[in-house]
């Protein structure tokens, strides 16, 4: 059996194990929902469910590109700062040109360029992704602060705002974007050669290179995608809060990483799914939503979130152990 076939078999095996993991997690979501529904009589209302979906959509979009990075055993700590700069630049472009379309292009483009830079730092300059993206985070933040000079940009055209706060058939727009990228991301990872190569790089970069995978090019690609998705997320935030400020997205990096990990993707690379990340995002959002509905003192939030993250990953580790 040649290497390509071997890789294909391995990834199919990984696929079924990943499917099992996704199932366990889905179970977790269902249990969580059941618990919240009994504790709060407003949990299962249409409005609240839509809220939860919309809030998870944002987290998911940030975490979806990140999933690909983590699949290659890398990390992207710069996504929060990426969101800030992309949002601020996009906001300026919308204000200056009046064109939402140009703004969208700027946001995603800026995010992608930043991602590209990360990719180059990691591949060409051989800097470990943790440090490269950490350094990038600081540099992006500096540029954003300098550019915004403590001001805010606010007031965007209604067509643009539809992206964040609009509804289509009663469902919030961000949810559609979420589903769209769930499909795109999932199909890309599982069904394209490039996707399979990404898994292979994470599982064993040496073997992957030997079987002909252009490792550097794929790595640059995943960081660029992670950046572009951060850019997209920044547009949705802009559309929702109708303003741009230098510190947007600051608090989104660690939750995005948590969503990916809670969703079953391994930090060591090679296993995990985009769908799992969606479930991870759902779980984290449900926990916060539940605490808000139950009017639990917000000081409890970091603690409860920390415990849930540990629990989710522990369950996953056990399930993985059983599966082997």
């Amino acid at each position: 059996m040649n290497t390509a076939a071997r890789t294909a078999v391995r990834s199919r095996f990984t696929l079924s194990r990943d499917v099992m993991q996704a199932f366990y997690r889905l179970l977790g979501v269902v249990l969580l929902c059941a618990m919240l529904a009994t504790l709060s009589d407003v949990f299962l209302t249409t409005n609240n469910i839509l809220n939860v979906l919309r809030q998870s959509a944002l987290l998911f979009l940030m975490a979806s590109g990140l999933t690909l990075v983590i699949l290659t055993a890398g990390l992207d700590l710069s996504i929060g700062a990426n969101v800030a700069l992309s949002a601020c630049l996009a906001a300026s472009v919308i204000k200056i040109t009046g064109s939402p379309l140009l703004g969208v292009a700027t946001g995603i483009g800026c995010g992608a360029v930043i991602g590209l830079a990360n990719g180059i730092l990691v591949t060409a300059l051989r800097i470990p992704s943790f440090i490269a993206t950490y350094g990038m985070m600081w540099m992006l933040t500096g540029v954003t602060y300098y550019y915004m000079a403590g001001e805010t940009i606010h007031g965007f055209p209604p067509e643009f705002r539809q992206l964040g706060s609009g509804y289509l058939l009663g469902v919030p727009m961000p949810v559609y974007v979420m589903v769209l990228f769930l499909l795109i991301g999932g199909l890309f990872a599982q069904r394209t050669v490039w996707g399979q190569q990404i898994y292979a790089i994470g599982a064993n970069p040496v073997t992957a290179r030997l079987s002909g995978v252009p490792v550097e090019r794929r790595l640059v690609l995943v960081y660029a995608v992670s950046g572009a998705m951060a850019g997209l997320a920044s547009l949705i935030i802009l559309a929702r809060i109708n303003s741009a400020q230098g510190d947007i997205g600051e608090d989104l990096t660690l939750p995005a990483i948590a969503a990916v990990l809670v969703g079953g993707t391994s930090l060591f690379g090679g296993s995990g799914t985009v769908a799992g990340t969606l479930i991870g995002a759902l779980i984290l959002t449900l926990v916060l939503n539940g605490m808000n509905l139950l009017q639990i003192n917000s000081s409890w939030q970091p603690l409860v979130t920390g415990v849930i993250v540990l629990l989710a990953v522990w369950i996953d580790t056990r399930a993985r152990r059983i599966g082997e």
């Binding site: 700590l77 730092l121 300059l125 051989r126 800097i127 470990p128 943790f130 440090i131 490269a132 950490y134 350094g135 990038m136 985070m137 600081w138 540099m139 992006l140 933040t141 500096g142 540029v143 954003t144 602060y145 300098y146 000079a149 660690l254 990483i257 948590a258 990990l261 391994s266 930090l267 060591f268 003192n297 000081s299 409890w300 939030q301 970091p302 603690l303 409860v304 979130t305 920390g306 415990v307 993250v309 540990l310 990953v313 522990w314 580790t317 152990r321």
Partner: protein, 316 residues
């Protein structure tokens, strides 16, 4: 281009430190452009300001050498300092308070170690979880407020001097030598190196890998508890946001110093240089009154440049 060697036994082979180059360049640059930089008072400032970070970066070096990470160390530092403050106000005994802080560090270190070694949860996630727990506890205990009313004796620990040298520097030097001895002159240290590069060797030798891992994280927790003393003394209070982000600063300092995430190569002196380099950069930029946004960008640049230099040299 041949690699210049150093005669330090602890130096990872064939790695000329980028951090040393960066540090020299920074010091020279600031010394020339900023009249107040190269004065004893300012240098003492830089070193004193770097002590808390060093206390976190030392165990972080050891942890990273075992292919692990401790993201909770900043939050544990914060919570320990709050416990210290509350205890000293309630009991009036600095000793008891210090022990309480160490106790907090011990608990979290144990927790981290057990979750990682026994429950097999990857260090990144474990410590991300315990970060949340420590942060949550800090917020709950203080309700967001500073804890004040701490007796002056604690404050003396940061502001006092012995033979003209500020206490924090003495404490940090002590911590450095202890860690150095632990790492390079004890069996514990040898096992730590093995944990990073060659776990099989440990198992074959009959050493409990789990036990070693737990000890490593306990070391981290204890140092965080120890650093809490300095932090509380420095602020003369305790605040739930005091240590935010310090774990990333510590990790960056370790990486800038030349310790690799992958191969278990550890260079403690590099960590010290890395911590000082960051302190020098911040201080120098403050003295030059560089706008804050530019400072932020420079910090990122420092990290990337230091590793870029290392990366380029490693290739040769």
């Amino acid at each position: 281009m041949s690699t210049r060697g150093f005669s330090l036994a602890a130096l990872p082979v064939a790695r000329v430190p980028g951090v040393a180059i960066v540090l020299v360049v920074l010091c020279a640059g600031f010394g020339v452009t900023s009249p107040g930089f190269a004065t004893p008072a300012n240098i003492a400032n830089i070193l004193t300001q770097s002590t808390i970070l060093l206390l976190l970066a030392l165990p972080m070096t050891v942890i990273i050498m075992t292919e692990g990470l401790d993201l909770s160390i900043g939050a544990v530092l914060t919570f320990a300092s709050i416990v210290l403050a509350v205890t000293v106000i309630a009991t009036g005994s600095p000793t008891l308070a210090f022990l309480a802080a160490l106790g907090v560090g011990l608990c979290f270190g144990l927790g981290n170690g057990v979750l990682i070694a026994v429950f097999d949860i990857p260090p990144f996630i474990t410590t991300l979880g315990t970060l949340g727990i420590a942060q949550g506890l800090s917020l709950l205990v203080t309700d967001g407020q500073s804890v004040v009313g701490i007796p002056r004796s604690i404050e003396q620990i940061y502001s006092g001097t012995a033979a003209g040298i500020p206490f924090p520097i003495i404490i940090a030097a002590l911590a450095y030598f202890i860690t150095h001895a632990l790492l390079y002159h004890t069996r514990f240290g040898t096992y730590v190196f093995a944990l990073g590069g060659n776990r099989e060797a440990l198992r074959v030798a009959g050493i409990s890998v789990r036990g070693m891992l737990i000890r490593v994280y306990v070391f981290g927790g204890l140092m965080a508890g120890f650093a809490a003393l300095l932090m509380t003394a420095r602020l003369n209070s305790a605040h739930p946001t005091a240590g935010i982000g310090m774990e990333f600063d510590a990790i960056a300092a370790v990486a800038v110093g030349g310790t690799s995430f992958e191969r278990g190569n550890g260079w403690l002196l590099g960590t010290l240089l890395g911590v000082i380099a960051v302190g020098v950069l911040r201080n120098g930029l403050n003295l030059l009154a560089v706008p804050s946004s530019v400072q932020v960008a420079c910090i990122g640049a420092l990290v990337i440049v230091a590793l870029f230099i290392d990366g380029m040299r490693a290739e040769r």
